[in-house]
Amino acid sequence: MIVVLWAILALVVGLAAIVVKARLAVPPRPPLPPDVELPDTPLQRTSRLSLGAGLVLAAFACGVVVVHGPEATMADDRVRLLFTALLMAILVALSGASIRLKVQAGREGGMLDERDRAILDRAPAVQGAGTILTLAVWTVGLMVRFHGAGAVPLDYVVLLFWSCLVVHLLALPVGILMGYRRS
């Protein structure tokens, strides 16, 4: 079992190294002169707004699980309803913004220009890295916590799914905002 844990830890470190290398491969844009101020693009504003809303809702959802505990969150109908409602709100807010951006990207003369489209095309790379890292962290955590029991309660599997989905959705605006700092 120790070997497996080490293998997973190595995987996490390896993925982190890939992310760091990717960041170094595309260095930040050289700084602009101090008198030049860059106005936000519509894509930046949308991303910032959806990321902010998503983070606030995700923090509330995490708070619910931390306060009540994973098992009680799923067992108590009222708490589960609140938790699910928060997750649905994240899903609607971020998926709505994402679909709107994709539609705009395919439309000539819309709110996105060629630079925005290039940034939007590269942003999903962050989603993949974020989701895999989340899975790796969950795997390590579950193995440490339930090593002796030999089985993982279903409540945790549900939480694993939701956390990966939320990270996947939040990673798109993060990737877009990172793209603006580097291109």
Partner: protein
């Protein structure tokens, strides 16, 4: 992204064309003002299509707006 090796005269041409604002140029060519600012600061290399649109707005050939730096 390293600093572009393509020099451009967009800022000069804007002022020669009735002090056109960055936003006006952006509206004419269908891009954001941020892209125009980065072009003027030579922090972004446009696509050929955008370069040609910009040249068309100023009524000049592309090679009078954009120029490859010596040794590039």
């Amino acid at each position: 992204m390293p600093k572009a090796e393509i020099h451009n005269e967009i800022r000069k041409l804007r002022f020669e064309h009735g002090e056109m604002t960055q936003q006006e140029l952006a509206d004419h060519v269908g891009c954001t003002r941020q892209t125009i600012i980065l072009l003027e600061q030579e922090r972004y290399v446009p696509s050929l299509a955008l370069a040609m649109k910009i040249a068309r707005v100023f009524g000049t050939p592309v090679n009078q707006v954009f120029e490859l730096e010596e040794g590039a």
